[in-house]
Each structure stands twice: as C-alpha cells, then as structure tokens.
Symmetry: C2
Amino acid sequence: MNYYEQNRQNFLEGLQTFLRIPSISTLTEHKPDIQCAAEFVRNELRAAGLANAELIEGEGNPLVYAEWTGAPGKPTLLLYGHYDVQPPDPLDAWKSPPFEPAIRGDDIFARGSSDDKGQIYILMKAVEGLLKSRGRLPVNVKFLIEGEEETGGEHIEAYVRSKPPRLRADAAVICDTEMFAPDLPTLCVGLRGIVYAELHVEGANHDLHSGVYGGAAPNPIQAIAEILSTLKDRDGHIRIPDFYKRVVQPAAKEREAWARLPFDVAEYTHKEMGSKELVGEPEVELFERLWARPTLEVHGIRGGFTAEGAKTVIPARAVAKISTRLVFDQRPDEAFAQLQKAVKDSCPRGVTAEVKLIHLAAPSLVNPDNPFIRAAADAMKQVFGKETVYIRSGGSIPIVGLFDQYLGIPSVMMGFGLPDDNLHAPNEKFHLPNFFRGIEAVARYLEVLGA
Amino acid sequence: MNYYEQNRQNFLEGLQTFLRIPSISTLTEHKPDIQCAAEFVRNELRAAGLANAELIEGEGNPLVYAEWTGAPGKPTLLLYGHYDVQPPDPLDAWKSPPFEPAIRGDDIFARGSSDDKGQIYILMKAVEGLLKSRGRLPVNVKFLIEGEEETGGEHIEAYVRSKPPRLRADAAVICDTEMFAPDLPTLCVGLRGIVYAELHVEGANHDLHSGVYGGAAPNPIQAIAEILSTLKDRDGHIRIPDFYKRVVQPAAKEREAWARLPFDVAEYTHKEMGSKELVGEPEVELFERLWARPTLEVHGIRGGFTAEGAKTVIPARAVAKISTRLVFDQRPDEAFAQLQKAVKDSCPRGVTAEVKLIHLAAPSLVNPDNPFIRAAADAMKQVFGKETVYIRSGGSIPIVGLFDQYLGIPSVMMGFGLPDDNLHAPNEKFHLPNFFRGIEAVARYLEVLGA
C-alpha cells in the first residue's frame, strides 16, 4: 500500500477541517475566516515539506505561496487555486449545513467542496505524498493560492502583473475545472473571455405620466429593448459590426473529438438546464456554440415601476447588465469598443445610451500538443484507465489570461469537478472517488513531467 | 356684490379646512381621515341646502350623495369628483407641509388642492351660492363624490354598474381636468382608454451560468426586448395587427382648432417634459399623437441580477408592465386580445410569454355640439371673457366610460386645474383665480342650462 492509499482517511479528515472554515470572500464579517483558511493552507504546505511557505499580504485577502525547487534542470510548475468560497444562501435549500461537511454516498457536501477547496487540497496532498514517501519531487513546484477568486481577484491580478521573480515557471496548473463526465479524464484547453458592462439609457429628466405624455415622450425601457434586439438577432447571431472578425474556428480534429463526447442532449436540455429547448445559432453545433463562439447575454434589467399593481409612468431611465463572452482570438478592449459603437449606432431618438465597463478578461486557447498538456493527458489516462478528452469551457478564468500575458506561460486546466456539483448553489458537493484519484493523477503528472 | 363676491373668504377658509384632512386612500392608516373627508363633504352639501345628503357605505370608501331635484322639466346633472388624495411623498420635497395649506402668490399649496378637493369644492360652492341667494337651482343636480379615485374606484364602479335609479341624469359634470393654459376656458371632449397589463416571460426553470450555458440557453430578458421591439417600431407605430382598424381620425375642424391653441413647443419639450426632443409617429401632429392616437408604453421592467457589480446569470424570468392607451372607437377587450396574440406571435423560441390583464378602461369622445357641452362653453366664455377651447386628454378617466355605458349619459369635463399644478407630485397647488372663477363658471353653467 502506497502513501496515498495509507492516508485516505487523513486526507478526508483534513479536507473536512478545511471545509469547516466559512471563508466567504464577499462578506466582510468573514474576514477572520479568510485569514484562518489562508493560514490553514500555508501550514499544510509547510508541513508537507515545502519551503518559503508564507502569506503574501496586500490590500485584499492574502495570497498563499510555497515552493519546492530542488530539481534543477527539471520543469517548474505554478500550482494555482483559491481558498475562498461563495456565500451559501439560500440556507434553507441545503440538506445539511454548508460548513458542516456531510458524506452521503460517494459525495461530500459542503460549500467549497468542489469550488475550490477540494481541488486545491488535491494539489497539496499530491505534493505531500511525493515528498513524504520519497523526500523529493520529480519537478519544481510553486504554489500560488488566492482568496479573492469569487470577488474579482484584484490582489492576485496586481501581484501577477508585477511579474515577481518567484513566480517564474514553465507552466501553470489550474485545478478549478470539471471533468466532462464521471470517470472521464478531462483537460480543458480553451476558455472564453468576457466583457461585462452596464447599459444605461436616459430619456426625459424625470418620470412622466404615460397618459399625458405618451406619444411624445421618449421611453428608455422601449429604447433599451430596441438596442438589445439590434445587438443580437432572434437566432443568436451578434449583430455588432466586425464582431466575428477575429474568431478562430475550431480545427476539424477538435470538432470531431467534441462530436464523440458522451452526451445526452435531452437530459442536458430538460434536466440540467431545465429548458424546453436549446437555442442559439442554429447552423452551429452545440459544443462549438458553447465553447468556440462569442455570445451576448443580458444578465439583469431594471427600470420604472415594478411593484404590485399599475402605475402609468414613463420612466426617466433604465439600466441593463450585459456581457459578451469572447473566444480566441478576440480582444476584450476591441470588443468593448465595438459594443459601445453598436449601442451608440442603434440608440433610438430622444434618449441617450451609455455603456459602462465593469470588467473584462481575455479568452485563451492552449495547444493540446503542448508537452505540459500531453503529460497531463498521459497521467490522467493512467490513473482513470480511459483516454483523456479535451474540452473547452464557455466560462472565463481571468487568471489564465494573466499568466499568459504577464508570466508568458501556458495553463494546464486539470480539474476533477463534475457538471452536477452545484457550484455557487445549495448542496455543493465533491465526488470523493474523483478526490482520491485526483490526488494520484496530479502525483502521476509530476512524475511523467519529471521523467 | 353678489353671494360669490361676498363669500370669497369663507370659501377659501372652507377649502383650507377640507385640505387639512389627509384623506389618502392608498394607506389604510388614513381610513379615519377618509371617513372624516366624506363626512365633511356630506355636511357641506347638507348645509348648502341639498336633500338626502348621505354616505353610501359599501366595501370600499364611502360615496357621498346629495341631490336637489326641485326643477321639474329641467335637465338633471350628475356632479362627480373625488375627496381622496395621493400620498404626499417625497415629503422633503415640499416647501410647506402637504396638509397645512399655504397661500403663496396666487396659488394655494396642499396635497389635493387641485386633484380634486379644490375642484369639487367649486361644484359645492357654486350650488350653495345659487341656493343661498335664490332659494333654488335652475336645473336639478345630484352629487356623487367618491373616495377611491386614486386607488382604482372599485366601489363607485360597482355602484354605477348596478344602475341605481337615483343616478338617473341627463349628463354628468366632471370637475377633475385642466385648462389648456391660464385664463383659457377649456372643455375636455375626449379621453383615451387604457389596457394595463403585465408581460411575463419565462425561460429555463432556474437561473443559469452565462459562461456555461450562454449559446444554448434561452434568455427571457432578451426575449422580452424582442417582443417589445416587435410590438412597436422605432417611429412609435404600434405593430399589433389590426390595432388601428377602429381608430377614428379627428375631424379637420377639430385639428384646425388644435393648431390654433397657444403652445410653446420648446418650453413644453425642454421645461415641462425635461426631454431633448419629442418622439412618436413623425407624420402625425403633436396633439393628435397625444389625444387621438393609441400608444404603447412600457412602465417598468425587472429581471435577473440588478444589484451592484457583476453576476453572470441568465435569469429564469423577466416581467414588464405595459399599457396601451386607446382612442375612440377602440374596444379595450379587443385591444387586449390583439395584444395577447401579438405577444404570442412575436415570442422567440425557448421561452413562454404570458400577458396578464391588470385593468382596462374604454376611450370616450363627446360631440362638442351636444347641448350640455355648448352650454358649458357659453358659461365659461362669459366668466373668463375668452372663447372656450376644446381639447382632449391623453389620459384615462374610467368613470366617463362607466357613465356612458351604464347610465347612458355624456360627460361634460369642465376643469380648472393647470398643467403645472404638480398633480401626484410634491408642491401640488391650485390657482386661486381659477378657484373663484370656477365657482362662478359652474353657477353660470347651471343658469345657462336652465334658461
């Protein structure tokens, strides 16, 4: 029995201790818990045998750093994840309390179990296992674990932008993604970027009576509807000029691999999404729509009178939150400028429209022939006993773009979550077989890479 | 000096007493004030010499009834108004407390001064003056004053629908409208009707992550924008099939009279409306757009995430409050059915849309050649010394349709408010010269009609 088999119970108990810390980064009253979680990670890394384990304090929540650099001439990996978690509300939807980890069947239920404490614990325990059983690692590693991923990650962004020498590495490993299906080893090789903005529309400088002024007064809600329906057509095509200009089509080989993924469209549509049907560009296959096509979505809208009953007001203003997801090789700055121009051009008479940027992130695409990806695919295949599949994600992980831009390194997105893990929702869970196999897969990855 | 000249100070003091009662019908804690205001009206009518002055109690706030029917063979007028008022908020925007009437210059400031206590007090004092100075009236009158005008008027609607014999009359006089300009005697001869509804759009049965599902998930906010922009074009034309079918164009004579109304379009646009420009059907003149064309307006919209910051959610539902103002000879039921069908037909894939009716009212149009209107125009002209103008109102007064439909009588809309009276807003006022001339004009009207 090897170290990993011997220590399963220890790993599980350690994870439970970690999950009991309510390190919710959006709520300031949890500041002490944030500190506690950061120290827990540092102490575990130090106990595992890593050097220079410390908190990097700054304006936001502390970063945790630790390293082992005893393999000169071998590659250096930057291991990333986050110790902060989403708020647990609504609390009454949880079957067991969110910060009292409960094991039911093969799953452990707790806020942060999958996103991302369970996953960074995999990285930590994989490294611990190699160091404890052999006294050394096959490659060099540097841990960088943050505590603001759920609130924007401003601290780590500033830190990475400053290009500190200690972050020099050959590749990053991000353990914050999903496997496509249970038991199916998966690597994520592409992410969409995002431009998130607010659309503010103003008409008259005060609310007006719709009887007295209807027929002469501009209506900002009608105008926002006009603008939104101009930006995207009914089939999901974005109508912003030149918006698709830089979009790189997926290679035929990648498309064919996607078509072979095990997938039940009815289950996905009705059960997972809770929808009557799938929409979006009809001439584009589903995975390409989700992973390789930009989208434009309205996240929220507000204007005028919305309480019970009737009020005949023409409101003075309306606001919508919108974002566009970008794909390789779109540029966030350019996309935002295109969006601004399209809104200006489609703005009806009588109102003014302004687009305010909230945040942006670049899309990323990693070549699967990259040796760091190939080694990860090999390691995953060995541990799970199945061919590793390559997917992309429709979501955005800004750190990947930052690592690329400021550190010049590719990211290996090796994740062990599952699509039904209830991320950001009640009853978040982590699949324990993935937890244990994840630890072994990461250890194997370091071995393959160092061989 | 006649009775009216002698009693100016009494009238003013009586009005102040009336205005001090905070008879806010939307707030249940003001129920005692509602009762107090109803009793004040009844007592004043009784003291003026009217018979059968009483409260008609029912499920809602009491109606006040009183009559004088001592002129057999002469016409009978039903005098309508309301004693309830809007809430005064925001309180800190008032220069003097809303229920402590303050006279500044020629105006009296108080909630309800113009809408509608000042105006019904005109009716009451006109009748009182004739009875006190001559012992009789030239025509028969029946007062019907309600206390739910600001909250839907359900009680009076049920009462009128029951066609009580005591409401038999030849015409109604409604003292709840405006003069087109100061010193310009004005009769309102048309009102728009209304269909007020909620548009509910639902997509998936739960909120979805826009990164994970964007490109496949239906978006109810985008869908509601599509629907709204399909129902009306950018130039303000309603695109609901057959919607304009029954619209009766104003006669050339009426249009010409509107073109002669004293009107400063720049002042109206920038100062009164606070708008950069006027919008609406470009080929239609302004007064026709406001008074003789149907409109479709969104009053409020709500959906998804609207708090500060960014949340990348595709919401499960969105709702908008919409209304269409109807003109003669449109039918509210038919218009609602047309709206429902148009929404159904324009609903994008993947979502369901439902239109729920909140309330409706028929449009009305009175022929100015009607003898009751002609007499009113004569009386107004005599008192104000200027030719009476005929306007319509873009708003809706449901009681006019009810009087027409259930009592079979036309309404004479003889009002003494001004466009800048701040109805439903802070610093509501009533122009005192209009108050005193209004009393004389109503008295003169009864004389002209009884001659």
